[in-house]
């Protein structure tokens, strides 16, 4: 997606945070060097081409933006938040980017478009098998810890802050 939007001056970066699911292979960070090593392993495994920025060891940047494990923010030229989501989903990002870029282009053409506050419910692709693969890569502890949390969530029913729809 990044090359398609590069001619439109959209830069794509990845901000490396704490380990969401620490395990034997990739435990919780205790030094900045370790965090850098995990970020390099991530880059090599997924062949990440975007710039990777690494947050400090206590998550100063991550906390200011909400502390969630896989959020996305689109920040416009000048520093205003144009779109954000509590999960990262490429088709949703592409939709938001096209919306912002097209609206801007139409404004430049002279159309009277006033910015306003808007929200919508996103639909993200969820692949449990791939997610479990990721946990296994982190180590058996990550698999077990997640299974324990899943059991708790199932017992509790509604998870605060999550959107569930009966459509």
């Amino acid at each position: 997606m990044a090359p398609r939007f590069a001619p439109k001056s959209v830069q794509f970066v990845f901000l490396y945070t704490r380990e969401a699911h620490p395990g034997e292979n990739y435990p919780a960070h205790r030094s900045f060097e370790q965090k850098l090593a995990h970020a390099r392993a991530f880059r090599e495994h997924f062949k990440v081409e975007r710039s990777i920025l690494v947050d400090d060891l206590v998550g100063t940047a991550h906390k200011l933006y909400g502390s969630l494990p896989n959020m996305t923010y689109l920040i416009g030229r000048g520093g205003r938040v144009m779109f954000r989501a509590d999960w990262t989903d490429p088709p949703t990002i592409e939709y938001a980017l096209n919306y912002v870029l097209n609206s801007r282009a139409r404004r430049r053409e002279g159309l009277r478009l006033a910015p306003f506050y808007a929200e919508f419910v996103g639909y993200r692709w969820n692949d449990p098998a791939r997610f479990q693969e990721g946990l296994a890569r982190a180590g058996q502890q990550a698999v077990d810890d997640f299974a324990r949390v899943m059991q708790r969530w199932q017992k509790q029913g509604l998870r605060p802050g999550r959107i569930e729809l009966n459509e």
């Binding site: 901000l15 704490r18 960070h29 206590v58 200011l64 520093g79 509590d86």
Partner: protein
């Protein structure tokens, strides 16, 4: 310099579930100014401010980790 307690609190060693989905909704809403944080560029080891990106154009930031 961060102390060990702060490091261990942020970098939990056991996943217990992300509790920040509710507070996320009111933090840094669309239309507001994004926090201008500083981070280390993995390739170069240099420090960079996010504003260096948004001075040049739009910037799409994904947050995450290997795990």
């Amino acid at each position: 310099m961060a102390n060990l307690a702060e490091i261990e609190e942020y970098n939990y060693s056991v996943f217990v579930g992300s509790e920040e989905f509710v507070s996320f909704r009111t933090l840094v809403p669309v239309g507001s100014s994004a926090p201008d944080i500083q981070a280390t560029v993995l390739d170069t080891g240099q420090s960079i401010r996010l504003s260096e990106y948004w001075k040049k154009g739009d910037v799409l930031i994904e947050f995450g980790s290997f795990t």
